[in-house]
Each structure stands twice: as C-alpha cells, then as structure tokens.
Amino acid sequence: MTATSPSPSALHPAPAAARPDRRPSPRLRLPFHAWHLLLAPLSLLFALPLIWVVLSSAMSDAEINRFPPALWPSGIDLGGYRYVLGNAMFPRWFANSLIVSLVAVVSNLLLGSLGGYAFARMRFAGSRLLLALMLGTMVIPFQLTMIPTFLVMKRLGLIDTLGALIVPSLVTPFAVFLLRQFFLSLPRELEEAAWLDGCSRLRVLFRIVLPLSRPALSTVAVLTFLTTWNDLSWPLIAINHDTQYTLQLGLTTFQGQHHTKWSAVMAGNVVTVLPVLLAFLFAQKSFIQSITSSGLKG
C-alpha cells in the first residue's frame, strides 16, 4: 500500500503540533545514546582494578607506601618489574606454568581428538557405557577427589614434581566430549571416501577430520590453557618445594613474603595475568562462544 501511494506526511511534512509525540523535546538532547551514560561508567568500573594494577606496578614503593597513596604514578618506575624478573624464582615459576599449561593443551588436543573420534565414528563393545561414565565424572567435585589423588600421586612418586600437575590435566572429559560432538556434526562422506581408498583411521583423523575441526580445537585449547594456567588449589596440594611452584602458587607466597613491596607484587601480578589476557583478547570470539555453548548445554 505504501509503495503505491506514499503517505501524505512524507510529501507534505505535517507541522510539529500535529504530531505531539515527535515534537523536539525541551530536554537536553544528547549527542549520543542515553545508554552510554549507564554503560560507560559501569564498564569502566569493571576495568578499573586491572588498570590500577598496571598503574601501581609502574610506581615506586615510596609513592605507594604513603598515606594517602598516590592514585597516579608521577613517573614510570620499573623497579617492581626489575625486582620480579631479577628474582631467580619468578622466571622459573613462569616457565613451570608455561610447561604445565602447554603440555596440558597439546595433550588435551591429541588425546581428546583420539578419544572423541573413536566415540563419534567407531563402533566397539561398551563404547556407550564408557562415554556415559566419562561424562558422569564431570559432576564429581574436585574436593572429593583431591585427597586420594594426592595419595595416588605420592605412590607414583610424582609429588613435588611438575608431573603431579601434568598427569591429572592430560585430558579432560570436556575435551573428549566437545570434540566428539563436533566430529559428529561433520559430513561422513569425506571420511568414507578416504576410508575406501585404504587410509587408516589415524590418517583419516589427522588428514581430513582435524583440519576441518579448527573451531572446536581452538575452544579446547583456550579453555584448557585458561584452567591450567589459573589453577591454584591443585598445585597448592601437590607442590611443596618452591623450585616447582607454578606462577599462581608463587604469586601467593611472594605476596606473603613481600607484603610491603607492593610495586613488585603488582608487577608479578601483571606478569601472571598477561598471558591469559592476551589469549583471551586474541581468541575472544571463540572463547565467548564456547562459554555460552558449554554453559547453555551444561
């Protein structure tokens, strides 16, 4: 109707009085959307503590340790960073965390793919029961298993070594299940062609399936990295000697020992958070997607 006969108001703009709802309001008109007034300060409030860490990591201790403390550094003082990186332990803790997290990521990708593929495409006796059991373990809270896991690791002679941190994080049911679901969503035909050409299952998985599974693999990688890097409870139980500390464990004890050397503690904090922050910013989209999808299906 509107296409054939344009509305009269479009041809002859009605006087403002005729349409009271469109009258320019006497209120102050903002040059931007009103929602910004609420969202900008709120989101800044969430970012503020992190900004504050970065600022104070670049302050001198004299600036921090006076009352009231300075809220803005007068100049950039990298003494905190120099102290942290010069402290023989900190780089070592960083390396320990990196080793544990990277081994966990690689092994979750590898073992998760193998297990997920077998559960998605291969028929073998007991596969359903096994999958159900593995999924069932996802609801077991960590506190229930931590004491016996400590005893198991002790029998294996792994307590106080990075091995104790690596073994339990080698593969999670989450990785197996997520990859299985993704593999199920891929068309079978591609694999069947290769299969008929005489490729082995392993070859099909590595040459055809995995290259198509980038999104699922990156989700597993990012979430595995995040949880292993950020974990404190298990390293706290499994590690006593400070040469084997992870960064999280090191940071807490470092804070306990240097609680007046705040610039160093904050520099250490920046170093601890930075890798995860970078990983998040690079993979933000797949990250948020994975959280919402795993959450909603939860």
Partner: protein
Amino acid sequence: MPRLPTPLTLADPGTDTDTGRGRRAARRRQRRETTTAWAFVSPSVLVILGLSVVPVAWSLLLSFQADDLVTPSRWVGPDNYRALVQDPHFSQAVRNTVLYTVLYVPLSIALGLALALALNQRIRLVGLYRTLIFVPFVVSATAQGVLFSFILDPEFGAANSVLHKLGISPQGFLTDPGQALLALVAISLWSGTGFCVVVTLAALQDVPPSLVEAARLDGAGRRHLLRHVTLPALAPVLTFLTVWQTINALQVFDLVYVTTKGGPLGSTTVIVYFIWEQAFKNFTAGYGAAAAYALALALLVLGTVPRTVRAVRGRARADHRLEGAAR
C-alpha cells in the same frame, strides 16, 4: 534369530568359500577396528576414570578412617561423620559458605541480567563495554586476591584513600571480621558477573524477534515486553545460571586462601577451606574426606534441581492441558 535352513550341501562350493572368506575378512576388519578404537580411547579412559572413580571410592573409604597421609590408616567407622556434626568449626564453615552463596548468587544473576539487557542494544561501543565487563572473568582467583588485598589494604590501599577523600573514616575490609565475607562477595561479583552477562546476553539474542514484534503490535510497552516476553524466554537460562553459580559458590576456595586464609576469627572459613585445612594442614585426611563427602552430597542434590523443576513444571503444564480439555 529364526532363519530358514540354508541348503549348505547344494550351494556352489565356489561362492561358499568366497562368502566364508568375506565373512572372515569382515570379522578380522571388525577386530582390527575394535583394537584401534580401544587404542584411541584408552589414554583418556585411563586418565579420566583412573583419577575419578578410584579417588571417589578411596575417599569414601578414607571418610571411615583416621589417616594422616603418611602412616597406614586406621578404621574408625562413622566417627568422622559424628565428629563433623558436632564440630563448631564445621558448622561455622557451613554458615559462612551459605551466607556467601546466598549473597553472591542472586546478586551476580540480577546484575548480569540488568547489564545484559543494557548491552542488548544496537549502539556503538557495545562490544568494548562487553569486553571490559567480561575481562575480569579470565583473571585467576590468585591474581584477583592479590589485587584486592592491595586495593583494600587498610593502610596503603586505594579504597581507603578514596574514602579518605570523601571524608569517610578508613575501613578494615578483609581484616575486619564483620566485613571480610562481604568483601569476598564483592570481589567475586567483580569477576563473576561477566560470565552471567555473557550467558544471558546469548540467550537474549536468541529470543525470536517475531515474538517481540507481535507483542509490540499488540500494544505491549517496554515493561510488559520485559515481563511477559523476555523474562519467560530467559527462564531456562536463569535456572541454569542459578544452579551453576550456586555449585561454584559452594566450592569457593582459591580466593579465600589468597586473601584471608579463613580469617579474621574464622569469619571467612568456607567449607572447602575447612576440608583443605583438615587434610593438608592438620593431617586429618579421613576427617577432611568426610567433610568432602558431605559437601559432594549437597552439590549432587543441587545438580538435580533443574531436572526436578522441569519435571514438576511439565506435569503442571500437562495437568493444565488436561483441565482445558475437560472443559
């Protein structure tokens, strides 16, 4: 399986050996397939089941024993559980945990819902706002704890310095028994709200636009739209978030360990901190295992809540439909 008798003797000997060979080859292939499958799954099965089923059973056993993690354990029967019921420290831990959960869960979900509704606008910079609100979620509990110990430090912290400028006397925050738990709730809200926002926002964007449009054409205002269209559509997600946040809140530990170590005066000793203290500080692992089993049972019951709610709701809906049919 009922099968017609096969005329074996009359069959062509050539084809017979052929199918026999084919069947044998198929069986061999199936056997090889099974071997491959087991080779694929066995590392995962070994790690996952080995480090969950075995410990769960062992934990149950431990909870009926006295064990110091070093010397052989001694059977004590239900003594650990009996002691747990009477232990004032445990009941304090339960009270603290419940208080933390009751404050944190509704606040994080309400705040998450409000922020998600605000972020569900087609305006500029909305992506940046979302990122800023979500970013604290990826910060480890350790880093959060260290960061807020600094900000809330009674002497050198920024919080007191801001209060000072506003003319308010300095507060104890994490060092004050009356404020410590509240401070922990606030820190958790800072880091945990982003998760609620992201999950709620995803659900909001799944609300069918046709539904909203139809309601609007029927003359629904903004408030009606929220109450009768948006919130009902979000109900499953809000239920999920409630259960998820509650389960996580009941297991809070890292943040407590880093900031207060259960203090001051036990005002922030939560259940998991109690378990950890019993097992790895006091070396009464059997007692800790009993506390862990008590918590796990509570979590298990909670985990079944959404299913029960759904079942009850489904039945109510069915009843309603039956009534309608009867009329």
